[in-house]
Structure formats: C-alpha cells, structure tokens
Assembly symmetry: C2
DNA sequence: GGGCTAGACTTGCTTAATGCAAGCCAGTGT
DNA sequence: ACACTGGCTTGCATTAAGCAAGTCTAGCCC
C-alpha cells in the first residue's frame, strides 16, 4: 500500500488530507481524543475490520500521531495507542468537522446533538478555541464532549503522552 | 458505490468525515475555494482520474456542497461547479488542516510555505477566524492565500453562489 | 498443569473503489 | 469537412477494504 499519494506535496492541506483524509483515520483520531486507547476498543466502537485497523494504527504511529505504549494489565504487558501532541492537535480539525457536520448534514434518526462543554465555566460552547459562554480560551483539559446517543455523561478529552508534561 | 457508510451516523464528525473524508474530496473543495470551477481544471490541478472526479463532483452536488451551474463559453453552454454556502463553510476545516499540516508534516522538498493574508489589514495571519495582525474577524471576502510553489500572487477565495447574497 | 479466555494481530479470500485508456458528443474555429 | 476542446461515460486492470478464520502470548481458574 505504500505511503499515501499526497503526503509530501507542497500544500499543507494536501499533506494533512493525505494522512487524515484516509478512510477511518479521522474516526480513529476522534475516538482517541475521547480516550480510546486499545485495539479492541477501537474495533468495537468503530466497527472497523481488524486488518484495516491494524494498518491504520501502524500508519498513524509511523506518522507520529499515535504512540504505541506498553501498559500493565493484571500483571501482563499489553500495548495501547496513545495520542501524541500531534494527535491531540487534530482537535481543531475535529471541531471544524463537528460544526460543519452539525450544520450541513442530517443523522438518519434524530438524536440529541453533540455538545462541547467548557468545564471551567460549565457552559455549552460551539466547538472552537474560545468559549461562547465565558469568552475564555478553552484549554483541552477543560473541554468535555457530550454525545447523548451513547451516554448523557460528558467525556473529558484524553491527554496526549508528552515527553514534557 | 452507494452513499458512504458514515453519512447518517449520529455523530456530526462521523457524518462530516463520511462525506469530506473521502479521498480527493477535501482537495476538490480546497481548489473550489480557491476559485476552480471547471471539470477540466480540477482534473488538471489535482491529477485525479476523470471517472473519479465525475463521481466526486456528482456526490458533492448531491450533498449540496457544490452546485452545477450552466455558463456561457463562446456561445455554447457548459457546466461549472460552484461552491454553495455549505461548500464555502468547509473553510474552517481547510484552515485547521492547513495549520496541522504546516506544523506536523513535511513537504518532499522545501518550498515557501502557504500563507493566509487578511486583505483588509494586509497582514499575514494564521489560518483561522481572527487575524493575528489586527485582531479582527477575517471575513471570507477579505481572505487571500499565497501558495508560493505555484505563484507568488495571492489568491482571493471564491465566493459561493448564494440564493440570497 | 491443561484448558479457557482476552487482546492484538495475520492470512486468505471476496468485493468495492481507484486509476488508466479509450471512446463519445456537441459546438467552434479554420 | 475536420480537428479540437470540454465534459463526460465505459471497460478493464490494479489496489484497497471488508469478512472470516487462524495464530500467538500470557495470565486465570480449577
């Protein structure tokens, strides 16, 4: 399959789209930002075929967007896929997609729509940098998403593995 | 090929990604936002196969993101593809991708990087809603992109066909 | 200590999407 | 009358995606 066609074009949008615009990739990153880390969890949440998931995760690790981290599970070592800083920084892309999708597409059956909450002030805000409610910058650690078709509880965004925080 | 798998899921990001995240779609919309309207121009600029382009344009028209508009070419009628409001509103997605791509990907050979200019104040700004230079909201009509690997001249964004403006 | 189970993958095969080349059609310029 | 251009469509080969089944590791349970 070799590296995607657009990954080294001069246009940054082309390069970003070459990686992020592959099928499943944005969905994987969405869920990773919501805290999913394990192979099986991605598989179950997205309904993606396992070979494709394996392929996508490998590509995202190679691109430095996810990082394979060993973790301890009842005494044994397993792997999980954690966001890197680069992975966390696709958040604005997800925000933009959420806004556009909310505005210009329709779900099959009406459900409560997704909401972004600024935990610091408790207000619902439009996905973006600044809170509609209090006007402050929404820091990632203070942002939570409500996805009512899954659960009424807000989900705080996952923090990236940082070699530095 | 039927309508993409994710287009009616409850998550707006999934719906947006189901449409925009198809291969070529973001690139087509990028170029449409930069003023490309004709089939042949898209084909030449993107190097996309004609049957795929035909398919994508049809899908984007169906989704209400582009609109097929007849135009006059030396006496005969041809078709062009113009942005609708929905198409113009993918701009924030393109901005977010541009920022991410600039930050986290590398071109094959170093070229001057893409810049966004706020024509009102003349400053270069980070792609986004607010101008870094003057602090004002950047309106679409005041925004121009410089893509130095193609030309040093700024390109003003295309305006959508509006049934109302 | 033998079988069971969970997580994380591979492998093989089928179906769908992509890419390439060629062809078509209407109007236009020569 | 003929080549040409823009905008397609059709056919066929190649590549990617989806599905099912199998593998491997290592605890865990009795």
């Amino acid at each position: 399959m070799r590296t995607a066609p657009q990954v080294s074009v001069p246009c940054p949008i082309g390069r970003a789209a070459g990686l992020l615009g592959e099928r499943w990739t944005l969905l994987i990153l969405r869920n990773a930002n919501l805290g999913t880390t394990r192979f099986d969890a991605f598989r179950a949440e997205l309904g993606i075929a396992e070979n494709i998931l394996s392929n996508r995760l490998a590509r995202l690790v190679e691109a430095g967007v996810l990082m394979r981290v060993p973790y301890h599970d009842g005494g044994r070592t397993r792997q999980e896929y954690r966001l890197t800083t680069a992975g966390a920084e696709v958040l604005p892309v997800l925000h933009a997609l959420a806004v556009w999708g909310e505005e210009h597409t329709k779900p099959a059956e009406p459900t409560g729509s997704m909401q972004v909450i600024h935990q610091r002030c408790g207000q619902v805000t439009t996905p973006g940098r600044v809170c509609d409610g209090c006007g402050e910058l929404v820091r990632r650690e203070e942002e939570a998403w409500v996805r009512p078709w899954l659960s009424p509880d807000p989900i705080i965004l996952a923090s990236p593995v940082t070699t530095g925080t």
